[in-house]
Symmetry: C3
Subunit: 140 residues, 3 copies
Amino acid sequence: MISNKKMIRETLHTRARNEILDLTPLVQRMVGSAEMQNGMVIIFSPHTTAGITINENADPDVKQDLLTKLSKLVPQSEDYYEHAEGNSDSHVKTACVGNSTTVLVEGGKVMLGRWQGIYLCEFDGPRERQVWFKLVGFDE
Amino acid sequence: MISNKKMIRETLHTRARNEILDLTPLVQRMVGSAEMQNGMVIIFSPHTTAGITINENADPDVKQDLLTKLSKLVPQSEDYYEHAEGNSDSHVKTACVGNSTTVLVEGGKVMLGRWQGIYLCEFDGPRERQVWFKLVGFDE
Amino acid sequence: MISNKKMIRETLHTRARNEILDLTPLVQRMVGSAEMQNGMVIIFSPHTTAGITINENADPDVKQDLLTKLSKLVPQSEDYYEHAEGNSDSHVKTACVGNSTTVLVEGGKVMLGRWQGIYLCEFDGPRERQVWFKLVGFDE
């Protein structure tokens, strides 16, 4: 059991107001370093304007279309927004996409579908962001 | 290990059709009472018109803007809705926001970002609602 | 502890571009076969155009309204979509609904609210799809 280890906090830098960063290689490396064979990884964004999702990792146009469509649905400015920071849209997008996910590990491998990648979704960058990773091993 | 304890069912009362209730102090108290040091809490809404999300817990305008924007995107009435109860919008919002989340516990503390709170999102109130909480301790 | 068992991979066939398939009886049967009394099931779609959600399992109109509303919000064609496969909408819907969920098990029973069902949401069918199920038993 390795689940008693503290969660890992990684710092990432985003470069645009809306951006998707691929966390997949990072997660796989953590699982390798921990020598975890069988378990799960809980991936958690401690932010309220940046979420976590799993989506296509092949054609980069998919990421772009996702960000563009979300910005069309939830534009930065609406005359009824009352929050003074001008990032109410970022909060709404984060609530829709979600701020955490769980992936399984089997045989030391992060289990994802062929086209899937684990993403940090920046909705109010550019910023320094943290992502938290908790590796929980299951009993053999 | 405390993970064999049954989940805790809490009853809450909402006061508006759309409302966000902060569950954070409740979750922290449960973790304290259980004396859980290291683990996770799975928070689950057993309803189909009320979800669970994590978002900003500082400026209450964020909650208001989130509810308003969701109601603009998903209005209560659409001429193509077939469900006779008049709450198809509440189901759509719940599917987008999600009905559960998982938070980590370390050193007896619910691990959240500085601005985060755990929320019950009421989308078809006012009602009596249940939220289920499962505390799962990790081995030391 | 049964958590060391490999995840179960089920193959399902969808029949429409947008469709909701009920996974609830399948999950309950798996829990029964594994004789799991106390634990959780992580349900994961390894696809980027099909998600997992929990919503109403009583009136089928709710499923229809959910699919219709999502297609109004996120139509198949937008002049700014760059992804050449013509399914950018399917990716956006999957990101909004999410691609996994966790349900609790107590006394051998999948714990859901009275009206809830666990759903595979097909957003780019008809196709053959996989869903992954990981049963994690908690210590007694």
